[in-house]
């Protein structure tokens, strides 16, 4: 598919400069940020996702960021009811959904109110003008109508009578009454597709499949889509089309996936690589619930899911499953992780493999359930009573969630230890193109199952593999391996209760050593440092993409700066000391008050510069670049 066909008149591609093309200018841009905003009921997520698909299939690189109304469904038309979806598309390897939108679709006054301030100067506004009645303006808090009071000066404004157009379009589709207006998101989408020179075909195919069993709805949506597209072609007011060319992504098969889904799939991959059935126990909590939902649909993969009565039970149920030899996982968000600590401590001391997924959200307490934050790091690394060291792995992007989940499984099973896998609300819901891995190429996991008695005719549950210090996993059903484990300190090798002081010291040391030693079994951190910089920027988790982009921006400004992302936060990779000591300055941007900063200082006694942001909104590349420039004295 090539997009030249869809501009009227001359359609030679051109870089940079706008050009006249039969009355319609074609702006070629290397990237563009588009935001869909409307009421929760306006179907903005759907429109955004469809646009994303069209862009992906066209070959753009892209990153998306849906934003849902917080917690309670607000009444239609109000500010808290606004739902939005942002996508950045580009002809190169972009990393974030971008900062200031170049195009805003605003379905009602509230959407305009909330999002206008973000739109970049001269940006395009596609506005559903018919929603701007007095009632809606009042609900949105406008004192006068922004469409004609000068508020929109400096923007490229397009007022579209979306409701009239939609009504006209869907007439005869069989949809009637209130339902008619439901198709207006497709109208907006059609118009946007035109604007970006995309065919409606990809979307139409999807509509046909999705609504196959709802003839009327299908027809209405298709009609609205087409009408929007045609409105773009025919309306004089549209003098610009925007071209963003396909990116040159590495060859491969791509899909577009959000982090919760990718993480769930990664767990299934862990299950297949280990040959163990996946068992997922969870209590619903935003933004982790979708992992449960995704896995609940995968029973044919042998996956069992369990919705527990609370998070403590979920952790306990997972631990019970781990005892039987399952690949046991429990998933939650911050408040739930606070609750699971005691059970995790038991899993740690019984040395059973288990994965605890924490999809971080804004804290403390209930906090900001729909916003991302990176503030559970301390809790993950140090948040249990007693000496309870654990491996902690953090995903950095939607697609990386897959790989991180696989790694968490590998470590848990090889070392017989619970592993905490951190994600966050941004990774959870944002989507990005993901080059599918070669599944056949992934190495199988060896699982330290006990095959039989390991000390003459006895079985000693705490006899260890002297390389990994993992004990053997003897699962019920195996004759001759009957044994008891528990939370009171255990005697080395036998696992019997022991109050012996020296044994407690030994077991504490072994548990610490076991985790520390994993440093030798994880990839070293790779530093991206083309120029031999003095400044290293360290990133972890979802902010990594913005940080990488910000580093790129700074380099474009001629600044030498290195970047490394840390996936393994406990233990740190073996080359951390070397890396840290190779730089004069280390900058650690985080969406918290400096948790990785403190971990690094506590481990390596090296000064770091912290860039902290706790607003529930991800860093932008600009913010990172600005800080780098500041440190570079610019």
């Amino acid at each position: 598919m090539d997009n030249e066909n869809h501009t009227t008149g001359s359609a030679e591609p051109h870089l940079g400069a706008p050009e006249d093309a039969g009355g319609v200018r074609v702006d070629t841009q290397d990237r563009m940020v588009i935001r869909f905003a409307g009421d929760s009921g306006d179907g903005m997520q759907l429109a955004g996702n469809r646009f994303t698909d069209a862009a992906a299939i066209f070959g753009n690189d892209l990153a998306t960021l849906p934003t849902f109304p917080a917690e309670i469904r607000a009444p239609a038309g109000t500010l808290p009811g606004v739902s939005s979806f942002q996508i950045q598309i580009a002809d190169w390897d972009i990393l974030t959904p971008g900062g200031e939108p170049g195009v805003l679709v605003a379905m009602n006054p509230a959407a305009l109110m909330v999002h206008l301030e973000d739109v970049r100067e001269g940006g395009i506004l596609l506005i559903n003008e018919e929603a701007f009645d007095e009632r809606n303006l009042y609900k949105a808090g406008f004192e006068s109508n922004p469409l004609d009071d000068g508020t929109l000066a400096g923007f490229d404004v397009h007022l579209v009578p979306m409701e009239t157009l939609t009504k006209a379009a869907v007439k005869g589709s069989g949809v009637s009454g209130r339902a008619v207006l439901r198709s207006k998101n497709f109208l907006a989408l059609g118009l946007l597709l035109w604007m970006f020179g995309r065919e409606t075909e990809v979307t139409a195919r999807w509509v046909e499949k999705k609504f196959a069993k709802m003839e009327a709805v299908k027809n209405a949506n298709l009609a609205a889509l087409k009408a929007g597209y045609n409105y773009g072609i025919t309306t004089e007011s549209f003098s610009r089309q925007i071209e963003v060319r396909p990116a040159s992504l590495p060859p491969g098969t791509y899909t577009n996936v959000n982090g919760n889904t990718a993480l769930a799939w990664g767990l299934i991959a862990g299950s297949q690589l280990s040959g163990l059935p996946l068992f997922y126990a969870s209590y619903p909590i935003t933004p982790a619930s979708d992992i449960l939902h995704e896995l609940a649909r995968r029973q044919n993969f042998g996956v069992k899911t369990f919705q527990a009565e609370d998070e403590i039970a979920a952790a306990g149920v997972a631990l019970g499953a781990a005892f039987t030899g399952a690949l046991a996982v429990t998933g939650t968000s911050g408040p739930g992780l606070s609750l699971k600590g005691e059970t995790i401590s038991l899993a740690m001391t019984t040395e059973l493999p288990m994965i605890i997924v924490d999809v971080q959200r804004g804290g403390p307490s209930t906090g900001l359930p729909t916003k991302p934050e990176q503030s559970d790091l301390f809790l993950a690394v140090w948040g249990r009573h007693g000496e309870s060291p654990l491996p902690v792995v953090a995903a950095s992007s939607p697609s990386d969630a897959f790989e991180s989940a696989v790694e968490a499984c590998r470590i848990a099973l090889k070392y017989m230890t619970p592993v905490i896998l951190l994600s966050d609300g941004y990774i959870a819901t944002a989507a990005e193109p993901w080059r599918l891995p070669d599944l056949a190429g992934l190495p199988r996991f060896e699982v330290p199952f006990a095959a039989g008695p390991n000390a003459g005719d006895r079985f000693l549950p705490y006899l260890r593999n002297m390389e990994t210090m993992a004990r053997q996993w003897a699962v019920p059903g195996m004759p001759g391996l009957e044994h008891r484990i528990g939370g009171i300190e255990k005697e080395e090798t036998t696992g019997n209760i022991s109050y012996d002081p020296e044994n407690h010291q030994l077991m504490t040391d072994i548990r610490a050593w076991k985790v520390a030693n994993i440093a030798n079994d994880i990839p070293e951190i790779e530093v991206d440092d083309p120029d031999g910089a003095d400044l290293l920027v360290l990133s972890w988790g979802s902010t990594s993409s913005a940080i990488r982009a910000g580093v790129g921006n700074a380099r474009n400004e001629g600044i030498e700066v290195a970047h490394a992302r840390i996936r393994y936060l406990s233990p740190f990779p073996a080359n951390m000391p070397t890396v840290l000591s190779s730089y004069k300055q280390v900058l650690i941007p985080e969406m918290n008050n400096g948790q990785l900063s403190r971990l690094v200082k506590a481990e390596f006694v090296t000064p770091v510069i912290s860039l902290n942001k706790v607003t529930g909104v991800p860093f932008t590349a600009q913010e990172i670049a600005a800080k780098i420039m500041e440190l570079a004295g610019r």
Partner: protein, 333 residues
């Protein structure tokens, strides 16, 4: 496979206080297990924390001495992940009714295939004698020197209110009765709860004297036996009859024999079992022992296994490669 009790003993020294009721229960369970046709390796005991919760260490099966209150949850995981195991939960009144109360009632309503042994000594033994959720009102303990203000649970009533499918009560001292309750609970697929009155001779000695005292037990013990009329007393001179939805104790002679309740443990409606549980709120007078309720309801572990099987049959064994491409793909060359 044929076992003797010794096969279920471990090399761990049993460390309850001399005279503790836990010993008799342990012996009863070990003997009972030896007589079953389940392989030892297919048995799992899960406990929380407390004196009672030491139990798994003394059973030569798989076992976990977990953390306080969480045994029903952990055992749920064991049972659901592997429905072929025989999963037992042991805990005290504090462990299962105080901190673990929620996990208990949820396990019961879900009807997970667990046999739960609630060692009710009406006290916190391990932490040295605070009142528990089953202690009598007004009880003076270290944490309630002026008398406890808590009104106790009736564990049988609570379990029935929580939709339990099998609820029984027995007494540590009566090994035969304990064994017959174990047998029935084991035969019941789904959750079974056995409340075992267990004497803590150190912190709450003689709490069950009404059922263990030579004279008292003859007067107070009400045996519930399915299909049999509920009569009791030293001379079987008392009987239980229905009176407007309540179970009421009467002089046997004063009622027509046809009015005496013939115990039906298998009644679908839980009301009768509940009413019988109200005959005694703690073992201070006439107190029923036996099976209150024993009915069938689909079992969680089986039903989940079934869903998995059906899903595989309907959709074929999951193919990860297909899953990864299920949202649509595009190719860059």
């Amino acid at each position: 496979m044929s076992y003797t009790r010794v096969d279920f003993q471990t090399d761990q020294e049993v460390r309850w206080c001399p005279g503790c009721g836990d010993y008799t229960i342990l012996a009863a369970v070990q003997n009972f297990m030896a007589g079953l046709d389940i392989e030892r390796e297919n048995v799992v005991f899960v406990s929380g924390i407390g004196c009672a919760a030491r139990f798994p260490y003394y059973m030569n099966t798989y076992g976990m001495h977990s953390i306080h209150g969480r045994a029903p949850a952990i055992a749920t995981g064991v049972a659901i992940a592997n429905p072929r195991l025989s999963v037992w939960v042991v805990g005290g009144d504090g462990d299962l009714l105080s901190i673990g109360g929620n996990h208990l009632i949820h396990a019961l309503r879900r009807n997970v295939d667990l046999t739960i042994l609630l060692f009710n000594n009406q006290i916190y033994g391990l932490t040295k004698g605070q009142y528990s959720p089953t202690s009598e009102p007004g009880k003076a303990t270290k944490s309630s020197p002026a008398g406890s203000l808590d009104y106790p649970f009736n564990p049988v009533s609570l379990a029935i209110g929580a939709e339990a499918t099998f609820v029984a009560r027995t007494l540590d001292m009566d090994r035969n009765h304990t064994t017959s309750m174990l047998k029935a609970a084991h035969q019941h697929r789904g959750s079974s709860l056995i409340e075992i009155y267990q004497n803590c001779n150190v912190f709450n000695d003689k709490a069950f004297i009404a059922l263990t005292g030579k004279q008292e037990r003859r007067e107070n013990r009400i045996n519930l036996v399915h299909g049999e009329p509920i009569v009791f007393g030293a001379d079987r001179e008392k009987a239980v009859v229905w009176e407007e939805g309540r179970a009421v104790i009467v002089n046997r002679a004063s009622v027509d024999p046809s009015r005496i309740i013939v115990h039906n443990a298998h009644a679908e409606d839980a009301s009768q079992a509940f009413a019988l549980s109200r005959l005694a709120h703690g073992p201070y007078g006439p107190t029923p022992l036996g099976i209150f309720r024993d009915v069938y309801r689909p079992v969680y572990d089986d039903a989940l296994e079934d869903q998995v099987t059906r899903s595989k049959a309907a959709r074929g064994n999951g193919d990860l490669g297909k899953l990864l491409t299920s949202l649509g793909t595009w190719t860059v060359e």
